[in-house]
Amino acid sequence: MPDVKRTPQRLNLRPDEEVGAPVVEIRKLWTRFGRTVIHQDLNLDIYDGEILTIVGGSGTGKTVLLRQMLGLERPSQGCVKVFGEDISEATPEQLQDMRNHWGMLFQQGALYSALTVFENIAFPMRELRALPEDVIRDAVLLKMDMVGLGPEHANKMPSDLSGGMVKRAALARALALEPRLLFLDEPTAGLDPDLSDAFVALIQTLHRELKLTVVMVTHDLDTLFALSSRIAVLAEKHVLAVGPSCDVLRVDHPFIKHFFLGPRGQRALEVLEERQARDDMESEN
């Protein structure tokens, strides 16, 4: 194994509030594709009720990490525990139980193109083979209402939807079984700024209403600062820093400096500071 020069982890802060056991626990995780090492000795904890964002350059394995948490890919070494169960050693029943407790929003939505929007959202509910059809119907309409899709869109096919509506429908489907844990892969990629802001607000509302734990991968700094309660920076094959955004920004490392404090980052940061100042004022009043 070629020895890679790495800086040790610079920052590891847990959420401010009192937290219990982590919902997702990643320990000593290695990922190799052929001879390329993507993750080397990676550790990460995700706690109940937080919104954790994973950031990093292209090819640092953010999406791979997400897929490993979902059990879609196996790490070469190390373990990923979700809800306290090791995902690669879980029995099929345990795995099914886990899968009923999490939702995933794929980057392209991944709506079933042969089913209507309504059937897409009803699909996981019907698959339980227990709920009566009238409850499913009302629950689907409720979920659509929550993500801001009117009932007139229910019978449309995914190919007839705009990009923003596909994301909303996919989010409604991810929320269909009332998950405790929601994974978002680039939730605002491909949306215009207005839609993207609306989507961020939507996720915030849902997070508050449903008491969700959210794990998100994004490149969009606006989304990142607006939503995250903590940020995990993936670089040099491990989690370089994890903590609230203001603490992560203070870490002195070339990647972090470049990623957050470049011209692109400055703008987003100004917005963040403005909002913080506003929040402070509000809390003083």
């Binding site: 193109s113 227990a130 709920l131 409850v135 009302d138 629950a139 409720l142 229910a154 009332e178």
Partner: protein
């Protein structure tokens, strides 16, 4: 995962001496979430209880004892209440939010689409119109390919040579193995069956005539065409369909590259070239199979077989076989491209389009074969 308490409904009867106005009360407890509700047997009991309680407006409901409630659990109550709040209801502040949500969404309803009693006429008409639409598009496609061929002949140097060569490789060279296997086996079977019959009246030597004529004139071209329709036809349709799904077709149009010239014409030309060659190959394999079988079954020498073949089968039959091969190749490519271009950007359409394409291609090939049989009915005997 933690063990969760099952959802429970308890009906409390008013104690004697209680106030007359208070009727029964229903107390819910446990975890009313989709996961606990969907456990085996849980829902059935609850649905039965709730159904029995439906339309009893005097009931008092107490949900504040529920550990956790989600939208689906709340929806169960809401439906049991006849989609309105009961007069006496006790809720947690958190549950209040849930029911506010549900109340807000309960006005929504799905649009029903009505079906007309004349539905079958509509279906029939749509089917016929669809057929003519396909026919029109197919003729349009033939016109397009002819135009592109004209363009290709006028300036052959800038033509899509690379695409043609790649398509010949994929649809011709890579099909050699499967056509050889199938041709050989059919030859063996045919020769064996014919030999059985011919032996009965001592016409052993006519085996060469039967085998030669049927293979060279009919079976060779047809076998090759059916195999190519299954192999290359489906792959052409699927390729074009995926290109539609991934917007590659649109990307080509945007760059000003015509689909016809770069995608369709090369495939048609390539199949028109490789199919006659495959026909020759299949013919040869089937005859070798027949020869082997004749040697084993009738003791007919290979030398005799080869010597009498030219006399038994006039050379015009061979030419008819080649012509059939080229026609079938063109037809398969056209049908495959036609269906490939009509695929819509979803997975179901892709699957259906590919199936239809292969079935249609094989049907069209057999129809064309029948047409040739009529045209050349007096030739080559």
């Amino acid at each position: 995962m933690q063990i969760e308490n099952a959802p429970i409904l308890t009906i409390q009867h008013p104690e004697s001496g209680d106030h007359a106005a208070t009727g029964q009360s229903v107390v819910a407890s446990g975890v009313w979430q989709v996961h606990t509700l969907s456990r085996r047997g849980v829902l059935k009991g609850i649905t039965r209880t709730l159904a029995a309680l439906k339309h009893k407006d005097t009931l008092a409901w107490d949900l504040s004892g529920i550990e956790r409630l989600d939208h689906i659990g709340a929806q169960m109550f809401w439906n049991a209440w006849g989609k309105k709040r009961p007069a006496q209801l006790m809720l947690d502040p958190r549950q209040e939010e849930l029911f506010n949500r549900i109340e807000q969404a309960s006005g929504l309803s799905l649009a029903r689409h009505r079906s007309s009693p004349l539905q079958w006429i509509i279906v029939l008409g749509a089917g016929i119109l669809n057929f003519f639409e396909h026919l029109k598009a197919f003729i349009g496609l033939i016109g397009l390919v002819v135009q592109d061929l004209g363009r290709f002949i006028r300036s052959p140097r800038t033509g899509p040579w690379r695409e043609i060569s790649a398509n010949i490789y994929h649809s011709g060279f890579q099909a050699l193995g499967i056509t050889a296997l199938v041709g050989f086996l059919i030859g063996v079977v045919l020769s064996y069956l014919s030999a059985q019959q011919l032996k009965m009246f001592g016409g052993d030597i006519y085996l060469v005539n039967i085998l030669g004529m049927s293979v060279v004139r009919e079976l060779g071209p047809l076998l090759a065409a059916i195999l190519v329709a299954g192999r290359s036809g489906s792959s052409i349709t699927a390729q074009l369909g995926v290109m539609r799904v991934t917007e590659e077709l649109d990307a080509m149009l945007v760059m000003g590259i015509s689909h016809g010239y770069r995608l369709i014409m090369p495939k048609v030309v390539a199949l028109a070239i490789s199919m006659p060659l495959l026909v020759v190959w299949t013919d040869a394999m089937a005859l070798i199979g027949g020869m082997v079988s004749a040697k084993v079954e009738l003791g007919l020498a290979a030398r005799y077989f080869l010597q009498s073949l030219p006399e038994a089968v006039p050379v015009v039959n061979y030419n008819i076989g080649l012509l059939k091969g080229a026609t079938f190749g063109v037809l398969i490519a056209l049908v495959a491209c036609h269906f490939g271009l009509r695929i819509k950007a979803n997975t179901e359409s892709l699957g259906r389009g590919t199936t239809t394409s292969v079935v249609t291609a094989i049907t069209v090939v057999i129809v064309a074969d029948a047409v040739y049989a009529i045209i050349f009915s007096g030739v080559g005997f």
